[in-house]
Subunit: 77 residues, 2 copies
DNA sequence: CGTGTAAGGAATTCTGACACG
DNA sequence: CGTGTAAGGAATTCTGACACG
């Protein structure tokens, strides 16, 4: 596992880096588009790669796509 | 600034990754050996590079060096 | 000197829900 | 559908101090 895929960043930092709200970030997870790890205390941990994905997801949503469609795209179908 | 120098990791994760206690990590900062960023709420943020440094510091301490000497070494003197 | 610990407070995150449109 | 928000609780982190040796 490289540095880009290591899930070590908490949602507050992800929010800062992406410019999105925690609500949006959690929603993308709810929609099965991203899969952060969890600490023992249930706290979400993201990787730099996740951050890339999140920004990509948001861009696509802005472009008019829906999360269900994005999920299909990720599945490669 | 690359991914390795981006300070986004909190002390709990650093503790897990290095195997050191938060006490040790904070002490190295007190001794001016590492310089984490701070969030608005005073929470420390470390980079992957910091994690490397921390492990190196601990190894050197185990080897018998003192923090003052390590500081000199970092300063290149 | 480097590290452990108990103490109390502050910042951060979590979940489930109601709201809008 | 995607996102905002108020609510209460839980996990995380912070500082300063006392302890040991």
């Amino acid at each position: 596992m490289s540095i880009t895929t290591k899930k070590v960043i908490q949602i507050g930092v992800v929010s800062e880096l992406t410019g999105l709200t925690e609500r949006q970030i959690r929603y993308y997870e709810d929609r099965k588009l991203i899969f952060p790890d969890r600490s023992k205390g249930r706290v979400r941990k993201y990787s730099f790669e996740d951050i890339q994905k999140i920004m990509d997801i948001h861009t696509k949503l802005t472009d008019g796509y829906q999360t269900v469609e994005l999920k299909r795209m990720l599945a490669g179908t």
